[in-house]
């Protein structure tokens, strides 16, 4: 049974890791479609837990996308020149986790449409990161089920580093398929 976010955040970091709901490859392969009718306002999405983050995780991302900003790998530059607490987890990495997270929730036939978020708290090596989401509103447009979400990424101390919102699209039970490529509804 999944722990609500509030309870998860009360656990010591080593206990938090035991409640990671990130699916395995096999679970992804066999995931059954979640339909619009299955969703209720206030319901929580699974919590994905990453970390503890290390300089190597952070550098791996910089290398993968060829982002040479020194605050992500040059500790002396980050702390002495930019007076940061350490090297920082990249906003671009955090940004890239969200489509991955929401793609999983709507699979196999739903669609992650859009997200908007701010970068607030700095995340540093040693942090455990909890990606979370909660349904705030649902509505039907043009035969598709739209679900607005509150999303974020908290650290082990419960500090929110990227408060935001997102919208995903789920099929209605017995309804039409979600178009691919996705065509948004007319306003």
């Amino acid at each position: 049974m999944a722990l609500p976010l509030e309870q998860l955040l009360k656990l010591p970091p080593e206990e938090m890791l035991k409640h990671n709901e990130k699916p395995t490859v096999e679970q992804l392969r066999t995931q059954q479609q979640r339909y619009y009718e299955d969703v209720t306002e206030g319901m929580e999405l699974p919590k994905y837990i990453y970390g503890p983050m290390t300089p190597t995780h952070i550098f791996r991302w910089s290398a993968a996308i060829e982002n040479w900003h020194r605050i992500h790998y040059d500790l002396a530059f980050a702390t002495h020149h930019d007076r940061l607490p350490s090297i920082l987890v990249q906003g671009s990495w955090k940004q890239s986790i969200i489509p991955s997270y929401l793609k999983d929730w709507v699979r196999p036939n739903g669609w992650f449409w859009k997200a908007s978020f701010q970068h607030r708290a700095m995340l540093v090596p040693g942090d455990i990161l909890i990606v979370w989401g909660r349904v705030i509103k649902k509505y039907v447009k043009e035969g598709m089920g739209f679900v607005d979400l509150e999303i974020g990424m908290k650290n082990q101390d419960g500090i929110e580093s990227m408060p935001g919102t997102a919208t995903v699209v789920l099929p209605l039970r017995g309804g039409k398929p979600i178009p691919y490529p996705f065509i948004p509804p007319k306003e």
Binding site: R60, A64, E66, R70, Q95, I98, P99, A115, P181
Partner: protein, 184 residues
Amino acid sequence: MTQASLESVLTPEVKAMIGVKGEIVECWGTVDEEYLRRFIQAIMDPDPLYWDEEYARASRYGERITPPIMVSYLPNRLPPGEEDPVTRAFRENPMSDGIGGVRQRGGLPPIPTKLVRILNAGNDIEVYKFPSIGDKIRYQSMYKDIQAHIGRDGTPFLTVVTETRYWNQKGELLCITRAATIRR
């Protein structure tokens, strides 16, 4: 005092950058296997839709997919043979932060400001289609908005919102990203 501080950073030259578009640029190379592998390992997403041909073929997509905004980092990939932008950035500024002076091909002209520290403030993402392996990516950026603010310490700073649209070789819109950066 506050108004004067705001105007000291949001100068007419800076304001004039709002709405400025870059050229449409074709990214070097294609969406390729190795870039995909490194990307999905770095975001720790083991989705078989990315790598299991048979599974992906049976999905609604009919082929392997790639992460929807992976293409938004392809502009970082500079063609070999051009002057090394990292060397150039440090030649121009030995204390370069490694990003501010590392210009991208066809990127937007720099904001004419002395505020050189850049921090990521937030992002918007809109996703329409998963890029496919082999796609040729084109993009175009524009300065969507620039605003001045006063920090807690009384220092003025700028927020700059850059919007970029990405298409594949068929002209299909893949995604739109908006990045808000703070210039201090």
